[in-house]
Symmetry: C4
Subunit: 211 residues, 4 copies
């Protein structure tokens, strides 16, 4: 297969090709977000119907949380592609790696919904969202340092998108050891997602502007 | 992540971005409508094949009803996006909330097909379609009051789309208590969907033009 | 919801809206064709692995047949939309009905694969493909008689597409009673698909140019 | 249905139609790659949760490998369509055949993940990826010999894409008999994928420039 990893292409000169990458990514996002529903289990006929449905409240919580996270990341992803001025083969590769993490969420979300009190289920779920966020952060850092971003998005990426992404990723990764002590505490720690970007700046600054 | 909740963008200046939101929504719709088929169960090998297939008639009814509702709402959704002149971050957020209800329908439709005589299954199904309709109504009210609609769609939204949506939503929500008394009566009440928009106007008018 | 069933729209004036209908239909097609794979069952751990895989040869046959039929109909559907000069709400409705039959194929294909020797499985499969073809034929007849087709596609539709579609539909519908006598004979009768359009012309002519 | 197998169409004159074929193919790719996640099994409630998750490491390996292969082939497929100057009905047919192999991968990948130590599972997986590659190679050879490629892609196709594709296909096909002796050796032989294109040139040269 032809390798064009090295060649940088201006978006303006390759709009059709660029559009296909975007459409493929959007396809994976929309399928993964719609497959989340497969984590909800229709009761089997032996069970008490009311009890079985009540048990699905954990799965419904997992559905809502994962839908919100994937939806939010689709918006961010969408902003990122809107902010690209050019792209290269390595960015396409990074994007595929990122999509591999996105497509994994329906599985880890179902694990969380079915086994929410198991520390291991929480750890796996947090790891998968951490993977989503760290690979997204990786795309931003790569595009920023290689100069692939439009001028007007460059500052937004540096001051808002990257810190927010790394902060969210760090929260999920840090919740993994917490889950070993208390699954509930780990889930509560995810509320820190709403605290803003202070933590993320500590991570993203040295990566984006090294030395 | 960059928040552009506040910024309003003219559609004419952001056609590519607007197109991606539309394509993403269409993707979720087409996937959800195609996943409805997973509610039909292939008989397992121990069962009598004819009897097992006959039992699927409820699931086939649920498939047809849900396909018709999602199809109708896709047409309405499609008209709504065609009628937008501009959009903002909050509308994208509302749209994601709406899609979360759409993507839930394959699950509630399967519940209805497998447990059509259980009041609880009917209540959950009616709640999910009520959620679809109320969040769609919410998008229309928001876009109307914030002035995001094209002039020619504004009157259609006010006089036809919003009343029809709220009427349909009210029918599904009102069928929920009815299901406690009689599941059949609840399902029959859905036939009111074909009675037109009188009920819906009572709801949508005060929301759209308050005071 | 706004009803635009009556209003005819020129494609040239509504290219974006037309494109979305096409994209939505293509989405349903590509999802249904990819979901066919769910008809193949991974052996469970108690079974003999080789035997279980060998049993999947029927499912693989059903997969190949359904993929070929859906693929062929996607090409025809694609030609049909390419041949439209204008469209109206009723055509969109017919198209949704058609898509409801398309989206059913992964279920009936799995039935055929798992129960190929049951007459009932063959009848259900033949009925579902008959439904696909008859609703497709219905779209062509409607568009032809309402004058929605481009001049250059009009003759092709009349002389080739409609006869071919009705011939294929008739073959599947006629195979249903045959399956009651011999499932194998019913499956063999599908080979008539390759005999051309003589039968179909008998059906399509009086429908398209009545009296 | 109208047959246009013989007619060659210039891409420039049929951009919309060409775009739909591309979009349909991309849809099948994005759905198949996202369905790979269904190969990961959520433990059932009787099992030890930690052990059951640990067993999923084989499925996770199959997920990663299949995602990488489908991702890589999507990139190649994407380059191929970018390199087309015209197309005909036979190429669309070949492309559907190719997509039938792509859509099969979620099934064979799940087989590999669940039964990685069974020679037969490895053989089936290798056969399915071999099918992907050989049908992709077939598309390239056909387009090259019929002169459907753009001048600038023609040399790339001949010297890089075709040899790489046939080399990869040959590696998977050759690993099938090896799996009968040692499943592990067969899996290790796939590492040859990274050795470059020498083997593939031996296969693709005589096919592309016969005599």
């Amino acid at each position: 297969m032809a390798d064009r990893v090295e060649t940088r292409r201006e978006r303006a000169n390759a709009e059709v090709e660029f559009g296909r990458i975007v459409a493929f990514s959007d396809g994976v996002f929309s399928i993964a977000i719609t497959l989340l529903v497969l984590g909800l289990t229709v009761p089997s006929h032996g069970q008490d119907f009311g009890d079985a449905l009540l048990d699905e409240r954990h799965s419904l919580f997992a559905y809502a949380l994962s839908f919100a996270v994937l939806g939010r990341f689709w918006v961010a992803h969408h902003g990122f592609f809107g902010g690209l001025a050019s792209f290269d083969g390595r960015l396409i590769g990074l994007n595929l790696l990122y999509l591999a993490w996105i497509a994994l969420v329906p599985f880890t979300s179902q694990l969380l919904g079915d086994y929410g009190s198991e520390p291991l289920a929480i750890i796996v779920y947090a790891a998968s969202l951490g993977g989503v966020m760290m690979t997204f952060g990786g795309k931003i850092v790569y595009a920023y340092r290689r100069g692939l971003l439009r001028a007007e998005y460059r500052e937004i990426a540096r001051n808002k998108v990257a810190p927010g992404t790394f902060a969210a990723g760090a929260i999920f990764l840090l919740s993994m050891p917490i889950a070993l002590i208390s699954p509930t505490a780990a889930e509560l720690s995810w509320l820190l997602l709403f605290t803003g970007d202070r933590l993320g700046e500590l991570i993203s600054r040295p990566l984006m502007d090294p030395r």
